[in-house]
Amino acid sequence: MTKLLPDYSGPFDPDFSHEKLSREVLLKILKENSDYLRRLDGTWYIKVMDKCGNDVAFECDYEIWVKFILHELRSACKLMKIKGNDVETLMKAMQSTSWMWIHDRTFELKNKKHGIITYRNCQTLQHLENEGTGRDRQICHILEKKLFELMAQYFNPRIKVNALKLPPREKGSDISCQWEYKLEG
């Protein structure tokens, strides 16, 4: 068996592929690529906001993510063979998306029909709090809620999403937001 590479410091290999890298380095690259995705999205938002104002930037962001989140969800479920139509399935899917790497989240599954997800120290919220323009109302209250509802509906339209905690957060709290998922009926 060929020895797996810890990096690509050796000579140019015309047949190089990521399959030749060790698990440890693959995990590091995945984490960086997840961060890359967040940076790409954030940089576009800020550039459009600078040139055309926040209303246009938010409209674009909303329009893009309501489409893109389902693409990502489909792709993650296919790769990870996640199937089902309850809250457990939804939580597994949310654990598997690229956002898992950059968000500090805890998943509490009360039973297959009821779960709570808590986000701590969200980097986007920290940025929005520093900016101080109140954009967290749009991003966390409107866009995130919509995206979480879309993700729930993807598995089962009877899964209801309820925000238990939303920004602005209490002083000293590390909880950025908290969401409850319930399969009704």
Binding site: K47, K51, C52, F68, L109
Partner: protein, 187 residues
């Protein structure tokens, strides 16, 4: 250490993380992330273009990539320890970059100081050709040229970048574009 899993078809695990997945699945996820990056960028461009026109979208695209390309170069070359000022470092970067992975460029090292990069397939060009508004002259010649210069100069400011072939192409069987990275040495 517990055995690596191939997928997440089993029961919910509150402490699941990607570190439990086997190498094959990790590579599959990398491919998917690479695809997300390209798609997300394209969605942003089109959304801004539809609302504010192509000039604004193009300006934003340039600003975004001026910033991100430098970040990506730093991360990729540090993480994979790609160093050295030769054109082979540029070739290695093309192989590992999450952006270029979806394009699978053909890399031909012609000696120590010359590299040819051929893009046989390019989903961006296909979309632009379908759109038919001629935007490829901006994206493929102006913008790519600048980005490729940024890549080359990250490794060595003396590397010159030249386009050997650019769109428009005669047929869909034709290559999409071809670039040369070259170090000219004084004799």
């Amino acid at each position: 250490m517990s055995e690596a899993i191939h997928d997440y078809s089993g029961a919910f695990d509150p402490s699941f993380d990607h570190g439990r997945l086997d190498r094959e699945t990790l590579v599959g996820l990398l491919r998917a992330y690479s695809n997300y990056i390209r798609k997300l960028d394209g969605h942003w461009y089109l959304s801004v273009m539809n609302k504010c026109g192509n000039d604004v979208a193009y300006d934003c695209d340039i600003d975004v990539w001026n910033k991100l390309m430098k970040f990506e170069l730093k991360v990729a070359s540090e993480m994979l320890n790609i160093r050295g000022g030769g054109v082979s470092s540029v070739a290695k970067y093309f192989q590992v970059s999450p952006w270029f992975w979806t394009f699978k460029p053909r890399l031909e090292l012609k000696g120590q100081d010359r590299l040819e990069v051929t893009f046989d397939k390019c989903p961006t060009l296909l979309a632009l050709e379908k759109e038919g508004s001629g935007r490829e002259s901006q994206i493929c010649s102006d913008m790519e040229q600048e980005l490729f210069k940024t890549i080359a100069h990250h490794f060595n400011p003396k590397i010159k970048v030249a386009a050997l072939k650019l769109p428009p192409r005669r047929s869909v069987d034709d290559i999409c574009c071809k670039w040369e990275f070259k170090i000219e040495r004084k004799r």
